[in-house]
Symmetry: C2
Subunit: 190 residues, 2 copies
């Protein structure tokens, strides 16, 4: 019996998949769960068949959005870990996490009302993201940009609390920057 | 036609009412919405009739808990505004707000599933609480304990983000203190 290996996706299929996820994420942020698969296809400028070829159900699409959001941050964390200025890389990544938190609640609500565990799609990835964030902290501390007595738990708590509130209370960029200025000053080495 | 003025509540009635609210709040935090009016009466050590005399429905009781929680903080803010050490009073009040946020989500969930607007019971009070918090900020700034470039919006955003995350993620006291230490250092005047 021949074994079937999953074939790598062709480049145009990968692009279409990415466009569908991106369009669905924007629709979810804007209109909540009312958007249909047809709306998604229209916004992504692909056929409805293409949407269904990648995602059999709306639930699968939501899960893909959730994964994509974490992967995007994870990519940014990996790049930041290679940056020359470890201090700026750390603070820029913290800021990006807060910026990218927009729409998180809408997505979690969508997953929950689809009967899915919002943590299931991303649980392994979150652990990776936390590890990558801790690495950025160590580098910034080694570069004397962040105080040495700050550890992983309170850093993650600070990031998540800011992310949750920024998304739920729809902070404008000015308020976000003013809040982050206070926290960043608290994190900096005197 | 005679006008009926609301009569002031007798001292023992006030005490009973407070005990019922306190017991209901503890039950809600521990068991969520499953606690019945009978459970509340038992925990408050009053008769079921006493519970119903003060609160005709469980919804009214939830609303009373919500008001009571804000009033408690408001009392603390008013006392803090009289304290000699304006810096300590400010930081202690911030800490108390975070400590007292425990159970907030359970209460909001209870109000929402009772079909009530969780903000309705406390809307006027929240505004008062925010004003009182801003007064504590001004006093702490006048005492050179807090930097002058921090204003009401980011202070309230910092307090609420910490409160939301501490409640939802069930921070232990050590984590809470470590997070607050960073934020407080960011708020302090250098």
């Amino acid at each position: 019996m021949a074994t079937t290996f999953p074939r790598p996706m062709r480049a145009d299929a990968r692009r279409n998949r990415a466009r569908v996820i991106e369009a669905a994420e924007a629709l979810l942020a804007k209109h909540g769960m009312s958007a249909t698969m047809r709306d998604v296809a229209r916004a992504a400028q692909v056929g409805l068949g293409t949407v269904y070829r990648h995602f059999a159900t709306k639930e699968e699409l939501y899960q893909a959005i959730a994964r994509e959001r974490v992967l995007r941050l994870l990519d940014a964390a990996h790049s930041a870990a290679e940056a020359d200025d470890a201090g700026s890389a750390f603070f820029d990544f913290f800021t990006l996490a807060v910026v990218e938190s927009t729409g998180e609640k809408a997505l979690v609500d969508a997953l929950v009302s689809a009967g899915l565990n919002p943590k299931a799609a991303t649980s392994g990835l979150y652990r990776e993201l936390e590890d990558a964030t801790e690495l950025l902290l160590y580098r910034a501390q080694a570069a004397s940009a962040v105080r040495d007595d700050v550890a992983r738990p309170e850093l993650l708590a600070l990031i998540t609390s800011t992310c949750i509130a920024a998304d739920r209370q729809q902070w404008n960029p000015e308020l976000r920057d003013r809040v982050l200025a206070v926290i960043f000053d608290g994190l900096r080495r005197r």
